[in-house]
């Protein structure tokens, strides 16, 4: 896996290079927009970490040129600005993800992993959460290759929870998702599905937490 880091701050760039090399990526570094533009034109990368605040040719411009040339390489934008407008601009230009400085290194590493996975699978049919795998195309879930016996609705609930693992999913969001699949469900029904799902996931040590007044949350797997 080959990554390009575009960052003008030498110490930060050095830290990122060291960290990602440690994770067995081949890492190239560009300190300016022009350099990055040149390297992207001549080399192939699996993902790009792109700082917005670069001298002269800024990150937005590098990204714009990349996408104009038809490059589909996933891009994670780094910025010292967090205003909503900046974020929207980056995503509109075709960035795949967005991280505000200063970030936690593990978070950046996880985002890079996710970016590369997305780039490879072209949408990603399998959702993985610890030992739990959900094949969204085949509509089946397995724990350590042992199939789980889930109804279509339970599977639907599980998919939403896995897509937003570690984050809160409201009952409304779950109901909306099931409604989207042609099912009409109330809040009480959602509670029943979650209750059943929880029982089936418990043996594998996967916990669906109830968050007071907010909904549910699939707790982060220990090793993701």
């Amino acid at each position: 896996m080959r990554l390009l880091i575009v960052e003008d701050h030498p110490i930060l760039a050095n830290g990122l290079i060291t960290a990602l090399k440690g994770a067995d990526y081949a890492v190239d570094h560009a300190a300016t927009g022009e350099q990055a533009d040149h390297m992207l034109a001549t080399q192939h990368y699996d993902a790009v970490i792109l700082d917005i605040g670069l001298p002269k040719l800024d990150g937005y411009e590098v990204l714009r040129r990349m996408r104009r040339k038809g490059s589909k390489t996933p891009v994670l934008m780094l910025t010292a600005r967090d205003a909503l407008e900046d974020r929207v601009k980056g995503l509109d230009l075709g960035a795949d993800d967005y991280l505000t400085k200063p970030y936690d290194l593990p978070e950046l590493e996880a985002r890079v992993r996710a970016l590369i996975r997305r780039g490879q699978s072209g949408g990603g049919a399998d959702l993985i959460h610890g030992d739990l795998t959900l094949d969204t195309a085949g509509r089946r879930a397995t724990i350590k290759d042992t199939p789980l016996d889930l109804s279509a609705r339970e599977l639907g609930v599980l998919e939403v929870l896995m897509l937003r693992a570690g984050r809160v999913v409201s009952k409304e969001q779950l109901a909306e998702q099931l409604y989207g699949w042609g099912e009409e469900v109330g809040a009480n029904a959602i509670e029943v599905y979650v209750h059943r799902l929880r029982k089936k996931l418990e043996p594998a040590g996967i916990n669906v937490r109830t968050i007071r007044g907010l909904g549910y949350l699939l707790e982060k797997a220990a090793h993701e």
Binding site: G22, A80, D104
Partner: protein, 462 residues
Amino acid sequence: MSRLRTLRSRLLLWVSGPMLGLWLISTMVDHEVAKGFVNLTYDRALLDTALDLGRNVRESSDRLYLDLPQPVIEMLISGEQGRFFYRAIGPGGEYISGDPDLPDLPPDALDDRVTYYDAVYRGGSIRAVALRVPVRPGSGKGAILIHVAERGTLRTDFARQIMLRMMIPQAILVLLATLAVWFGVGIGLRALTSIRTEIENRSHVDLSPIAEAGAPVEVRPLVRAMNDLLSRLSAALAAQQRFIADAAHQLRTPIAALKTQTELAARQVGDSEAKATMQQLHTAADHATRLVNQLLTMARAEPGSHRSVMRQPVDLAALAREVTGEWVPRALTLDIDLGFADASAPVEINADPFLIREMLSNLVDNALNYTPPGGHVTVRVHRAGDHPTLEVEDNGRGIPEEERGKVFERFYRIPGSSPEGCGLGLAIVREIAQGHRATASVQTGAGGRGTRIIVKFPASPR
């Protein structure tokens, strides 16, 4: 000068002062006019008396005498005591009748048939008429000179009475005009009320110009001057905000470098004492991150920020639910039960959603920092009467009564609290609340434990 502090008393002085002067002058003029008419009338009566006397001059063989009928005598003598006097003198200067020592005509008087003159007699002023009556017309025997005089006090009393009667209605007029000024000023100044209301109702972060259109023409220069000041103020504040925001942005990259390097170092050194040191460095970098983020938020919430006018209808309940949800993962790592309780119906406020989100984040962050593992934090949105209200309650150690006034101050930290916070969180909450004309207050949590922070928005229709 202190009496002239109000516009009303100034106007009153400048209107009623000259009016009082005019009233005095007009009174004096009235007096003169009255005196003129009174003289005219009384002189006429005096002459009539003299003519009456003249008609009664009789001639005997050797002398002239006055044959006065009883009514005339009574009028002259027994009338009002000492009011009238008369004297008749023959053509040769011989005394005929009356008061012999009555003052004579002034020396410069013309030799007219009728002459009026003023004189002093028996210690008082008198008005007199001298009438020449021929003894026998055409006889060439000369003329008798008849003087009739009356006390001057009669006339002055009468003129004074006329003057007094004219003074009273004029005084009432002055009084009424003064009252009219008093109330008129009040009514006139009501035109300023709309400007006052506009200024009173604006939030302290709103430095936009005051509308000039509703102001009276006289007040517009004042409004313009105020608007000029507002615009200079807002430019100065904006420059300051920009500086803080830029500084915060600039700090982010070096802090990111610091965090990345300490994280890496902690991995490289393995389980040694150095690892603990690295982790402390990392924690310090995290604190710097928080501080930078809060400074940025502060800069955005303060007056002069371009965000201060970005108001729109916001469903407080939905926004609070969303923000609380975002904090759940952090609460779980701290082993704190973070929950939400809402009024099921939307609670709409007119607000800047970005700032309300920041306010909520700071409230929840603050509550999580002051709640021990195993504790509860609850975000609540409801209506207290007509007031949309946001509450964040925890069952942590609470804030002592005497500290509550200070917790909203910048960089204030409760003595003995953990070094997690930098003392800006609640200052940001207050700043944003004030910007939305809301109030932030601290109470003790349910069951006498922990803290409940309440943000009460201005009343709005349901």
